[in-house]
């Protein structure tokens, strides 16, 4: 197998040569490259805006997931106090799953920030090169014979074509990344929306529950259950604290926790 570098060099050169091949003389190349640069500038701006939107969406989602974790933790405590270990387990399983999603989000936000910076840097480089191409063409025309000028401008044209292809690829890549993240964000939202346990008296049994159970690390759940039991003093006599059929909304997580700190 040939090296990755030679493979990419070949693929990229083909693309770079195509980038400016519509223009045959240097004058046309310049007009065409200005036009291309303007188009790319627009695309880069849109690309950066898309990246920023995705990033904000992920940040909102992070906040939402953090809320869910607090809520599920409270629900698990309530369920355990009511001697419903099965429900407490389900709540903790969901909590574990959401914690996993939360860890992934941080690195995705960092990736998007990097994409944003790359696009900005590349646009700056491309603008500098288009400007340089303009100056270069005038200098070469004044100093060299027509044939020699053709060769020298040819080299500059290839250099410019490379830069355009590079920016073009960065745009495609940024778009793919934001699309992937949006798809993932939608999936996480669905999980959070359907994952809340609204009625503690209803046994869990949906597809989602099975899915969650399969994905979850049972060890962490067992450990948390043991810890909560210890905190509640085995939880045996606490069933009366939770009226049967109380919807979760009327007993928010904050109230289920020991109220030692004054409310803000």
């Amino acid at each position: 197998m040939a090296g990755l570098m030679s493979r990419f060099t070949t693929l990229f050169k083909v693309k770079a040569n195509k980038a400016l091949d519509r223009a045959e003389d240097p004058g046309e190349t310049l007009d065409y490259s200005y036009q291309k640069q303007l188009e790319m500038l627009q695309k880069v701006k849109r690309g950066v805006a898309d990246v920023v939107t995705s990033k904000k969406r992920l940040q909102l989602q992070t906040a939402k997931l953090e809320e869910s974790i607090v809520k599920l933790d409270g629900q698990a405590r309530q369920a355990l106090a009511a001697n419903r270990e099965d429900l407490a387990r389900t709540a903790l399983e969901r909590k574990t799953l959401i914690q996993g999603q939360l860890q992934g989000l941080d690195s995705q936000i960092a990736q998007l920030e990097q994409q944003q910076q790359t696009l900005i840097d590349q646009e700056r480089r491309l603008s500098a090169k288009v400007e340089s191409f303009r100056t270069h063409k005038e200098v070469v025309k004044a100093q060299y014979s027509a044939a020699e000028a053709q060769v020298r401008i040819g080299e500059a044209t290839t250099g410019l074509g490379e830069e355009m292809s590079d920016v073009g690829l960065a745009l495609t890549r940024a778009q793919d990344k934001t699309e992937q993240m949006q798809a993932r964000a939608a999936a996480v939202n669905e999980l959070v929306d359907t994952g809340a346990i609204d009625d503690l008296t209803q046994p869990a049994g949906s597809d989602l529950d099975q899915q969650i159970a399969a994905l979850t690390a049972g060890n962490q759940v067992d450990a948390e259950l043991a810890k909560m039991k210890a905190e509640l003093g085995t939880g045996g006599g606490a069933a009366g604290e939770l009226a049967t059929g109380t919807p979760a909304e009327s007993a928010p997580a904050a109230e289920a926790a020991p109220a030692e700190e004054p409310k803000p």
Binding site: S6, Q111, A170
Partner: protein, 92 residues
């Protein structure tokens, strides 16, 4: 020689480094061939790191052709495999 890292621009490197560059590149290719994700990210990271640390960035306003082109620094094993298989990471 001029080496371009996609997304990061061009670097001017001493020609004497070509041997080392090819060595790392072969390690990357071997990792792709065997599907060794850890080996890939190690060798590829070293390759990118070497170009960036040993190379001097080509000024923004200079127009030169690259002798070698490396994919984006965050390329995954999967993307590298696609590049070997077809057009992959560089769509037409």
């Amino acid at each position: 020689m001029i080496v371009r890292i996609l997304g990061r621009g061009q670097f001017q490197l001493d020609d004497a480094l070509l041997g080392r560059l090819n060595e790392l590149d072969n390690a990357v290719a071997a990792a792709v061939a065997s599907g060794d994700a850890a080996g890939f990210s190690r060798a590829f990271g070293e390759l990118i790191g070497m170009v960036e640390s040993e190379g001097k960035p080509v000024p923004d306003d200079e127009l030169v052709t690259s002798d070698h082109v490396l994919p984006h620094a965050d390329t995954t094993l999967e993307e590298a495999r696609e590049a070997f298989a077809g057009e992959g990471a560089i769509p037409g």
